[in-house]
Point group: C2
Chain length 196, copies 2
């Protein structure tokens, strides 16, 4: 039976997760990914290494969760239109991917994913899976409203929204401006709506 997570008394796992992620963020900001160790995070958070590995699987996943998913995804947006929903999504991705810790840790995490296919697989299923589900929800709303005849592949739309920001940050080493964010949302929305 799963433990309900609502209510004032959150289960103990959440507090441990929270401590581990906070400690990881603190050490990442201070030393960078290369010098980060699970030992140091365990000491800083006051938990065992075993607890960390049980929850996060690896140093890379712990660091990714801490750096990129510093902010949880907000409740699915429903602004009343596909345009509005994609504009809101673009801002969520910009805030999540463009935060200083994610920008700083990104290249090392990209290298880890390339070296470890099992890690890349888990990463696609967990972290990225959440974002793709979020996009799926937006597309299903647009179908329900009659804006789209049928939903396009949510994984493709996720890449169209997030890919230009990822390339700007890690290929061009340039921050994502509000004008790029707006251009992405507008072009992708107009492009999907034109397919009706």
């Amino acid at each position: 039976m799963s433990t309900p997570r609502q209510g004032p008394g959150r289960p103990r796992e959440d507090r441990i997760d929270h401590s581990v992620l906070a400690a990881t963020r603190k050490l990442l900001a201070r030393k960078g990914y290369g010098a980060l160790t699970v030992d140091a995070v365990a000491a800083e958070a006051g938990v065992s290494k075993a607890a960390i590995y049980r929850r996060f699987g690896s140093k890379a996943e712990m660091a990714f969760r801490a750096a990129v998913h510093a902010a949880e995804l907000p409740s699915p947006v429903d602004t009343g239109s596909l345009r509005g929903d994609l504009r809101a999504l673009a801002r969520v991705i910009k805030a999540s991917m463009g935060n200083p810790l994610a920008v700083q840790s990104g290249p090392a995490l990209i290298a880890e994913l390339a070296k470890d296919p099992a890690l890349a697989e888990r990463f696609r299923e967990s972290a990225l899976g959440v974002e793709v589900d979020y996009v799926r929800g937006i597309l299903e709303h647009a179908v329900a409203r009659g804006e789209l005849a049928e939903p396009p592949d949510p994984a493709h739309v996720h890449l169209l929204m997030a890919g230009p920001m990822f390339y700007s940050l890690f290929g061009f080493q340039q921050a994502v401006g509000d004008d790029l964010c707006e251009r992405i949302a507008q072009t992708v929305a107009d492009g999907l709506l034109a397919a009706r």
Copy 2:
């Protein structure tokens, strides 16, 4: 005065460039980026290290040119429509960014760019500048044909076209399929055309 590059007798620099890039590709494929040295490339190509640094500036730029720009950009496409031109561009980017050497060397090059702001600046101006100019040409054709009222920022359109492939390859560790390539071209073309 610049030396014309047409005709049967190409200037000597081109043969040296060609030897260096061929040697770099051979050593990259065999040993990977980490173990690549300018010394080894110079020996393999039969040129001096000074000649390599004069032409390419750094190991990273030499490797990037060898890995990603293995194929030079073809002459600017002009298929007669923005849709056709962006479809052709998507295939060029897919072939260039998705070739095995680029995929293998990409994460190490991403790390180099993050460590060295001067390298990132040169990279934006040279390699990426060529691609952005290519996109600019496509957009100007579309304006001349009356398909677009005014050209959008070519740097943004370049990110919209190439970003989803870059994210798929280096964030998701997944090859770029023909269906993604087609989805990108179609959505970006429809999105830009809708702005008329």
